[in-house]
């Protein structure tokens, strides 16, 4: 075992400070009483009150949640299917193209994806609104879901599925009763990823939304362009809190299920 030297300790400390300080400062100053964001004038929660009285923000938050829920659910279904195809289907005509279009959206600049989808929606005469944002978000986040799920499917022991088929399951039942429960953690984290990607997206939503549907990032962006504002600080703090609690809870849950899995395996070995 090598010694964990001062150099490593310093680079870790500095690195984590760099990652977290901006966010921490933002959270602290969201409780600032002053309208001048950078001058501290005592503790206050008044910006949170202002925020909850701001109809425009609440409307945008509602639209955003709706879009995120619909698109992440659709993306999880489609992405899981795509992962299944990538890992299991073997060779079929157009396979290279298929894996190409699965991975391409991951590295595609958002401005291009947004522009091309908008031109499609206009081309087929679809009015821009919640529906078009959902379609756009589903398309790019299903690729992330399929990457997450396929990395779990690759390590999955196929003989379990074959056993179910031998015992008389239909392929669909075998998937539902055997494969799905085992890959469920990956499917759930795929859904969560799709949900956060949709909550977060500014560029693609700006291209594909119409005047009837403004999402929270669009709203934040247009008000932030003019400069820092205490209300946005408060809004950011709420979002940061939700995400942090969610991620920490999810990682604790997966840790606990890993420990339980280990215990189950151990007791399974003991039973003759």
């Amino acid at each position: 075992m090598r010694r964990f030297g001062w150099f490593n300790a310093t680079s870790l400390t500095l690195g984590l400070a760099f990652l977290y300080l901006p966010v921490v400062i933002l959270v602290i100053y969201s409780f600032n009483a002053s309208k001048l964001v950078t001058v501290w004038a005592g503790f206050s929660t008044k910006w949170y009150g202002e925020l909850f009285r701001n109809e425009a923000f609440l409307d945008a938050a509602w639209v955003t949640l709706k879009v995120a829920f619909l698109s992440s659910t659709l993306a999880t279904a489609l992405g899981t299917m795509a992962a299944h195809v990538l890992v299991r289907a073997g060779r079929f005509p157009g396979r290279t193209l298929f894996s190409g279009v699965i991975y391409a959206p991951l590295v595609m600049p958002e401005v291009i994806t947004g522009l091309s989808l908008l031109l499609l929606f206009i081309g087929i005469g679809l009015d821009r609104g919640v529906l078009t944002i959902v379609l756009a978000h589903t398309t790019f986040s299903m690729c992330y879901v399929s990457v997450v799920v396929s990395s779990r499917l690759v390590t999955f022991d196929r003989s379990l599925e074959e056993a179910a088929l031998d015992l008389g399951c239909t392929p669909f039942d075998a998937f539902r009763l055997v494969t799905l429960p085992i890959i469920a953690p990956a499917v759930v984290s795929g859904w969560l990823l799709a949900f956060t990607l949709s909550l977060d997206d500014l560029v693609i939503a700006s291209f594909t939304s119409g005047p009837s549907a403004t999402t929270l990032p669009i709203k934040i962006f247009s008000s932030v362009r003019l400069g820092v504002s205490p209300e946005i600080n408060a809004l950011s703090t709420i979002l940061i809190a939700i995400v942090s609690i969610g991620v920490i809870a999810a990682s604790l849950a997966s840790k606990r299920s890993a420990i339980r899995g280990q215990r189950d395996r151990r007791s399974a070995v003991r039973v003759p």
């Binding site: 933002l26 950078t38 600049p109 291009i112 989808l117 299903m142 934040i220 932030v224 946005i232 840790k255």
Partner: protein
């Protein structure tokens, strides 16, 4: 039959919402605007049969691309995006490598927590993380307050709305993409190799240069492309942190589309950006394949 359906549904979805839109972008980039709004000229008239298709094809031209080539704004924006992305990638590598290295050398029981700490910012909204720097880097920002308060400088530094702020923004938001693949390749490394190198007379630095660095190469390459490729087309960071002098092609495309409403030119900008990205994307995918083979 059901098997076919499982393949067909995601396939058709991606064809309809990913590939067809690109064909449309390509078509519009070759078209001329009729009064800056659709319909564009030429239009495909399928009812006219073969002559319709021929008229359509002969109506397409490269005029918009010729315009891009002659107007200095565009190629300057492409070059400056490439330069900003390259510089930021280099800084991210220099900042990220020591972090990944320290994580890989940390106590086994600490690693999952450290990993979570590096991943957590990635889940926090990208927009908010970029925005958080606006308060820090501004004229009356926290950084200038601190530096003046300590007495290092007497006049505030101008950082916000310059390229420096853009570098900081890109490095900050994409740092986890750099750290994670490097950590993955360093974590798998067999530490007895280092002991062997030192036994054979290497200094610690030589052992790092001759053993650790080459072994982490696939991680470095993956991390660099994961930062470089999305940084080229970045829009949010240059428009919030950059200034009027910051030229990036993502911003140009956005303005061409939303402010100038010139959709054919915006489409041509997108097509050229795509052509620029194809080479790094292919190199990246080759590297990923090799990395996966090395893992299994």
């Amino acid at each position: 039959m059901r098997r076919l359906l499982i393949v067909a549904i995601p396939y058709l979805w991606l064809l309809a919402f990913f590939l067809v839109p690109f064909v449309i972008v390509l078509k519009i980039s070759l078209s001329d605007t009729a009064l800056a709004r659709p319909p564009y000229f030429p239009q495909l008239d399928l009812y006219a049969g073969w002559t319709g298709v021929r008229d359509f094809l002969s109506g397409l031209d490269l005029e918009n691309f010729a315009f891009l080539a002659t107007d200095a704004l565009y190629w300057k924006a492409y070059l400056s995006s490439l330069r900003i992305a390259a510089v930021s990638t280099l800084i991210a590598l220099l900042v990220g490598y020591p972090i990944a290295y320290a994580m890989a050398r940390a106590n086994q029981s600490w690693r999952p927590t450290l990993l979570m700490l590096v991943i957590l910012p990635f889940w926090i909204s990208f927009l908010i993380r970029v925005y958080s720097w606006m308060g820090i880097l501004g004229q009356e920002g926290y950084l200038n307050q601190l530096l003046i308060g300590v007495g290092i400088i007497s006049d505030p530094l101008t950082i916000l709305n310059t390229n420096v702020a853009v570098y900081i923004g890109i490095v900050y938001t994409y740092l986890p993409f750099m750290v994670l693949p490097i950590y993955a390749s360093l974590g798998r490394m067999d530490e007895s190799l280092l002991e062997a190198a030192e036994d054979l007379g290497c200094s610690r630095f030589q052992a790092f240069r001759l053993v650790t660095l080459p072994l982490s190469r696939p991680g470095i390459i993956a991390g660099c492309f994961l930062v470089f490729i999305p940084a080229i087309g970045e829009f949010v960071i240059p428009s919030l942190l950059g200034g009027s002098g910051t030229l990036m092609i993502g911003k140009v495309l956005w303005e061409e589309f939303f402010s100038n409403r010139d959709w054919p030119v915006a489409s041509a900008v997108a097509i050229v950006l795509l052509l620029i990205l194809i080479v790094p994307i292919i190199i990246f995918q080759r590297n990923e394949q090799r990395r996966q083979e090395a893992e299994s």
